[in-house]
Symmetry: C5
Subunit: 354 residues, 5 copies
Amino acid sequence: MARLTSKRSRKTGLPPGSLVHIGEQKTETVAITVRHYDEQQFQEKSAATFEECIPYKDGPGTTWINVDGIHQVETLEKLGSCFGLHPLVLEDILNTEQRPKMEDYDSYIYIVLNILQYAESKGEVVNDQISLILAKNTLISLQEKETDIFIPIIQRIKNGKGRVRTRGADYLAYTLLDAIIDHYFVLIEKIGEKITSLEEELLQNPAPQTVKRIHHLRREMIFLRKSVWPLREVISGLERGESALIQDTTLFYLRDVYDHTIQVMDTIETFRDMLSGMLDIYLSSVSNRLNAVMKVLTIIATIFMPLTFIAGIYGMNFKYMPELEWPWGYPLILLTMLAIAVFMLAFFRRKKWL
Amino acid sequence: MARLTSKRSRKTGLPPGSLVHIGEQKTETVAITVRHYDEQQFQEKSAATFEECIPYKDGPGTTWINVDGIHQVETLEKLGSCFGLHPLVLEDILNTEQRPKMEDYDSYIYIVLNILQYAESKGEVVNDQISLILAKNTLISLQEKETDIFIPIIQRIKNGKGRVRTRGADYLAYTLLDAIIDHYFVLIEKIGEKITSLEEELLQNPAPQTVKRIHHLRREMIFLRKSVWPLREVISGLERGESALIQDTTLFYLRDVYDHTIQVMDTIETFRDMLSGMLDIYLSSVSNRLNAVMKVLTIIATIFMPLTFIAGIYGMNFKYMPELEWPWGYPLILLTMLAIAVFMLAFFRRKKWL
Amino acid sequence: MARLTSKRSRKTGLPPGSLVHIGEQKTETVAITVRHYDEQQFQEKSAATFEECIPYKDGPGTTWINVDGIHQVETLEKLGSCFGLHPLVLEDILNTEQRPKMEDYDSYIYIVLNILQYAESKGEVVNDQISLILAKNTLISLQEKETDIFIPIIQRIKNGKGRVRTRGADYLAYTLLDAIIDHYFVLIEKIGEKITSLEEELLQNPAPQTVKRIHHLRREMIFLRKSVWPLREVISGLERGESALIQDTTLFYLRDVYDHTIQVMDTIETFRDMLSGMLDIYLSSVSNRLNAVMKVLTIIATIFMPLTFIAGIYGMNFKYMPELEWPWGYPLILLTMLAIAVFMLAFFRRKKWL
Amino acid sequence: MARLTSKRSRKTGLPPGSLVHIGEQKTETVAITVRHYDEQQFQEKSAATFEECIPYKDGPGTTWINVDGIHQVETLEKLGSCFGLHPLVLEDILNTEQRPKMEDYDSYIYIVLNILQYAESKGEVVNDQISLILAKNTLISLQEKETDIFIPIIQRIKNGKGRVRTRGADYLAYTLLDAIIDHYFVLIEKIGEKITSLEEELLQNPAPQTVKRIHHLRREMIFLRKSVWPLREVISGLERGESALIQDTTLFYLRDVYDHTIQVMDTIETFRDMLSGMLDIYLSSVSNRLNAVMKVLTIIATIFMPLTFIAGIYGMNFKYMPELEWPWGYPLILLTMLAIAVFMLAFFRRKKWL
Amino acid sequence: MARLTSKRSRKTGLPPGSLVHIGEQKTETVAITVRHYDEQQFQEKSAATFEECIPYKDGPGTTWINVDGIHQVETLEKLGSCFGLHPLVLEDILNTEQRPKMEDYDSYIYIVLNILQYAESKGEVVNDQISLILAKNTLISLQEKETDIFIPIIQRIKNGKGRVRTRGADYLAYTLLDAIIDHYFVLIEKIGEKITSLEEELLQNPAPQTVKRIHHLRREMIFLRKSVWPLREVISGLERGESALIQDTTLFYLRDVYDHTIQVMDTIETFRDMLSGMLDIYLSSVSNRLNAVMKVLTIIATIFMPLTFIAGIYGMNFKYMPELEWPWGYPLILLTMLAIAVFMLAFFRRKKWL
C-alpha cells in the first residue's frame, strides 16, 4: 500500500487503447479456468486459449471464465476478439492502477475493483485488482494473481449447494462481489484492533513512536478510502437495475452488497475521526509532559538558587562581616535556609504544582 | 460502546443469506409474545413457536408479535417460512451490527435500528438492535434481549387508552419508533450534563484527566452519530408515504418522529462542536500554565544569578582585592544586591509578569 | 442560552400527542388578547376563554389572537378543539424546546420559531419560543411570556397606518416574522460589538481571560446557529407559495424576509470564522510570549553562568594558584569577565534576541 | 472593511417597506444624470428630478439614468412612483448593507452588488453599494457616491465606439457588471502582492507582527468572500435567460461575466488556503525558534553547572582536603574541567544540537 | 507556478471583447501549421496567414490547424473573421490566465485548458495554456509556445497508424485531450516521488527545512487543483453528448478521459491529505525534541544545583563550623553528594526520563 502513484507515465505518447501492462507482474504464468454449470451439471477445465471458451458462450447454462495473470498482452487481445470487447476495456484490464468503476457497454458490463487483504507478513494492506465482465450467460473474471477468496464459492457451485447453481451469470457476479466486500470487513476488523491497541498505548504510555504509528494508520485509511469510496457508485450503478443483463431477483442481493459498502465507508470515516482525535490527545499529552518537566526544573531552581546565594554571601572574604564571628551564626543561617525551602515548597503546594 | 468493529469476519466464505448470529448473545432463552387487539378486545399470550401466530395473520384486528432473543437460527428460519420473508432479511436480523436501514419488500417493510440507553453502572452507552417487520395487520419486533422501553405502550394498549387501539399496525410501528427515539433524548440529556460538568471543570481546574474525558465523550459522539445519521433516511423513507402499508393519517405522526430525529442529530453536532471547542480551551490553558511556570523560573533565575555572581566575586581569594579591606565593603555590597533585586522586580512588573 | 439539552425526558413513556409543558414557566397567568380589524374598524379585547374567539373565525376582516403564557394544558386543549388543531400541533406548542419548523396542515399552517433577544442584565442571549397558527382570516400567536417586539405593529394596526390593515392574516403573519428577524439583527450587532472589542483586546493585550471570552462567544454562536439555520427552510417553505392561505402579493414580502434570514446566517458564519481565527492568534501570541520569556532566561543564564564559574575558580582554596598572588590578577579577571559579558550580548544581538 | 455589522437596528419597529437610509452618507448632494442614445445620436444632461426622465422611458433608443447619492428618501420615493417600483426595492436601495442579489419583478429586474476597490490611502478594501434597475429600454443605476470605474464606458458610448451603442439596455447593464467585476481582479492582484510579500517575510524573518498581518488579510478575505459568493447566484440568475428583458445575444456575454466571477471566487479560496498554510508555517517557525533558544540554554547550563560545582568543592573550607595541598592540584583540576567541557560539546555535537 | 494572480488589471476599462494579450510572451514568432488528412492521404504545410486555411474548411477529410504563439492580436483577429468566431472566444484565447472551460457555440466548441509539465531545471510545475476550437471537419489548436507532447500523435497521423486517420476532427480533439491528461500523470508521479522522499526525511531527520518543503508542495497542490478541478466539468460537458459535433463512437473515449481526470483529482486530494498529515507529524516531532532538550536541562540542573549548594555551605567563612574541623568531614560530604546524585538519577529513571 506504499505506492503513491502508478507508473502510468510508461504509457505517455501511445495511442489510446494501446495494450500495455501497468503495475507489478505478480504471477509467472497465465491460467485460464472455465467452469460451466446449470441446475443439473457442473464442468471445470483449464483452457489454453480463449478460443476454447467460445462454444459455451451462447449455449444454455452459466459459464464462468477465470483468468489468473493479466500481464500477457496477446492473451488479452485474444479475449477481446473472442468476446467482442471494446479496446478501452482491454486497456483498463491491463492497467492495474484503476479506480473502481462500472461501465455498461449494453451487451456486457465491465466492472473493475480491488481485492484488499491484510498481509500479516508485511504488516500492511495488499491490493489486487480484479476485472469482471458480465455478459449474457457468461462471467469473465481477470485477476493479477490467483486468490483464495473465491474457493468457498467454487465449492458451493461444485456441490450444488446454495442458490448459485439455479441462477444466471448476474447472480454469480453478485456472489463474487459479495465475497470481495466481505473480505473488506476482515480487513476493517484488523485495522480496528490496531487502532484499539494504539489507543490504549496512547492513554497509558504515549511515546514518540505512537505518533508514527498513528501516521501510518492514517495513511492506510487514505488509501483504503480511495479504494472504497468509488465502490459505492459502482454497486449503486448495478443496483439501479437499468441493464437487461441483471435480473430483478438479483437486485435485492445487490442492495445488500450496497449496504455493506456503505457500512465499510462509515467505518473508514469513523476510524479517520478517531485517528485524528488520537493525534490531538497525543499532542496534549506531550504538552502536559513538558509542563511536568518544567515544573520539576522550576521547583529545583527556585529552592536552590536562593539558598546557594545565601551560602555565597557568607563565602565572601570581607574583613568586616560581623555575622561570621557570632557563635550562633552558622546554625542560624542553616535554619534560615531550611525556612526558605519549606516556604517555597508550601508555595508550590498551594499552586498545585506538587 | 467500546466495540470498534463487528465480528462479521465469522461469516466470510459463507453463501449470501446464510443465517449466522453475529454479536454477543444477551439472553438465554427466546421468548415469543403475541398481542392481538382491536377496538373492542385485547389478548396477550406467550407462543412456543411461530406457527401459533399464523391464525392471527390475516384475521381482523392488529397483531403484535414480539421476540426477545434472536440468537437461535432455527427460530428465525421458522419465522421466515411462516411469514414469507426474504432470506436477506433473516440474515440482517441475526446480524446485530447492522447500520439502521429501511427496506420496502412490497408485502412488508423491514426496519432495523438501535435502542440506545445509558447504562449508569458501566458509565457508557449501551446499544441493542431492534428489527421491525411491518406487514398488513401484523407487526413483528425482534430484539436482542427484553427491553423496558415498550412497557408504557403495552399498558396503553391493555387499558384501551390512546389512539393505538383504534389504529392499525402502522400506527403501532410508529408508536414503537417514537418510544425508541424518545429514549435518545434521555441519553442526549445525560451526555449534555456530562459535557456541562466537564466544561466547568475545564474552566476552573483543567487537569490532564480532563482531556481524556473529552476524548472519551468525543468517541461516544462518533458512535452515537453512526447510529443516528442513517435514521434520518429510515424515517424519511417511511414518511414519504410510498408504501400502501402506511396509512395517510399515520404520515403526520411519522413527520413528527422525523423532526425528533433531526433534533437529536442537531444536538449531536452541537455537542461535537462544543467538545472540539473544549479541547482548544484545554490546550490553550496548558500553554498558559507553561508560560506561568516559565515566568516563575525566569524571575527567580534573573534575580539570583547576578546576586550569586557578585557574592562569587567577593569569595575569590586574590591577595589584592582592596574592597575586602574597606570597613563599609560588606554593607555596601549588600545594598547593591538589594538594589539589583528591586530593579529586577520593577522590570518584571513593567513587563506585566508579576 | 446555557441550557444544553431540553428536559424532554419528562415525556418519555407518554403516548404521542400527550400535552405536557416542557420548559421553564415564564409567566404566572395566561392572557388571551383578541384583535379584530378590517380596513374600516379595529377592536381589541381580552378574552377569558377561546370560545369567545369563535365568532370572529369565519366572519369578515382579520382576527389576531395572541396568547401570552402557554403552560396551562387545559387552555391549549380548548384552543385545539375550538380551531380543530391536530394533537401534535398542541404538543409542539407546549414543548418550548422545538427546532424552528413550518408544517402545512392544509386548513392552517403551523410555524414555530424563536424570539432571540440580548438580555443586558444577564449578559447573554435570551430565547423565547413563539408559535404561529395561520388560518383563513385568523392568526393565532402563542408565546411563553409577553414580548415588547410586537408593540409597534399593534400601534400601526390601531392607527390604521401601513399596509397591514388592508391585507389579510397572511400579511399579518409576515409582519410578525419580519419583526422577529429584525430583532435578530439587533442581537447580531451586539455580538459584533463584543467580537470587535475582543479582537482589540486580543491584539493589544491578550490574557488567559481572553480565551475564555472567545470560548463563550463561540458557544453562543453554536446556539444561535441552531436557531437560525432551520429558519431558512421555514421561510423558504412559506415563500414557495404552495399554500392557498398565502396570497401572491405577500410572497414578495416573504422573499424579503428570506433574504434577511440568509444575511443573518451569513453573519453568523462570518463570526464563527473570525472567532476561530482569533483563537489561532491567541495561541500564537501565547507561543510568542513563551519565546520572549525563554529568551530572557537564556540571556541571563548564558551571561552569568560562565562569570560565576570563573569567580568559582578563583574562590578555590588550592595552595598553589599563582594568579592569586599577582597584583593585577583581580582587575585582570574583572576585565575578562566584562569582555565575556560584552561578547555574549553581542552574540545575542546578532541573533536578534535583543 | 472594518464594520462587522450593519446599523440595521435603526429600522427595528418600522413597518416593512419603510424608507430609511442605512449606512454612512458618502456624498453631500444627489446628482441625477440622464444619458439617452441610439445608433445615431447621444444626449447627456443633468436632471433635477425624476419626472424629467419619464419622457425617455418608452421612447426609442436606450436611456441610462445614473444617480450618485442615495441618502435622500424623498428622491427615492419619486423614483419609485415614476417607474412603478415595488416598495421593497426602494427599501433595499436605501439599505447599503445588502447582500448581493437579483430579483426579477417581471417588468424590471433589480440587481444589487458591491463595487470593491482598494483604497491605497487607508490600506484597506473600500466597499460601495450599487443598485441596478433594468427595465425595457431603460437602465437605472444608483450608487452611494460618484465612482470613476464607469468613465471608460461613458467615453465609449459618447464616441460611438464598441457594440454598446447598437444594443439595448440589457447590454449596457452587462457592460457595467463587467466593469465592476474587472475591478475585483485589480483588488485581487493587490491582495495577491501583499500575500506574496508576506510569504517572503514569513520564510525569511518571521516576527510576531507577521501573524497580525496574516490575521488582517484573513479577515479581509472573509469579507471579500461575503461579497463575491452571492454574486455567482446573481449572474447565473441573469444568465439563465428566463427574463424577456435580456436578449439572447447578451447571454453569451453574461456567461463570460459568470466565468470571471467563478475565477474571482477560485482565487479567494486559493488565498484563504494559502493564508491558513502560512499560519501553520508561522507556528512551526515559532516552535523551532523556541527549540533553538532552549538548546542554547541547555548547552550553557550543562557545561557550566558541573564546572561550577567542581570549583565549589575546592572552595570548601574543610581542614583536611589533601588535594588542596598538592602542587599539581590546581592545573590538574583545570584540565579535568576542560575535559568535561570538551566531552559535553562532543555529546551535543553528536546529538546534532550544534 | 509562483504567480498568484494574473495581470488582468491591464484590461480594466476596455470594452468587452477587446483583444489584449495577457500573460508572458513565450515565443518570438507565430507559426501556423496546417495538417490535412483522410484515410488515404496526409498533407502538412506551414501557412503564413489564416486565409490559406479556408479552402480546407468544408472540404472532405479532417483539417488540424495548429498555432504556436498567440501574442499577435492581428493574427487572432484574422482567425476570428476566417472562421466566424465570437469576439469573446478570441478574447479568451489571448488571456493566458483562463480557468479551464468548455463553451458550446453550436457551430463550434471552444475548449481551453492547461498543459502542465514539470520543469526539472526550475524545480517547479510549468503551465502553458492551450485553446481548442472544434468545428465540423476542422480542429484549431492554439498554444503559447511549441510543445512536444503532440509529437507522437503527429507521427501516428503521418504513418497512418491508429484509429485517428479514419475518424473525424472530434476524435482528433479527444486524442489531444488524452495526451494532455496523460502528461498530468507524469507530473503527479514526480510530485509523488517528492512527497515520498520528504516523508522519509520527516520520519528520520526532521529539520526546519522540511516544513518549508512541505509548504512548497502544499502550495503547488493548491495550484494544481485549481487547474484540474474545472477540467472535470469540461470533459463531462463534452462527454454528455449534447453537441452534434461529437460522434457517438467518440463518447466512449471521452468517458475514458473523464475517468483519468477523476483519477488525477483523487490523487491530488490524497496528496493534500498526506501533506497536512505530514505537517502534524512535523509539529509533534518538534514538540518531542523540545521535551527531550528540556529533560536534559532539568536532569543536569536537578543534579548539580543541590550539590553546588552543599559545596556552597562548606565554602562559608563562619568561625564556628564544627564539620570543617572533622577529619572525615570532606570524604563524608563527598559521599553525601554522590548519594544525592545517585538518588536523583534513580528518580529520573523511574520517571522514564532516562
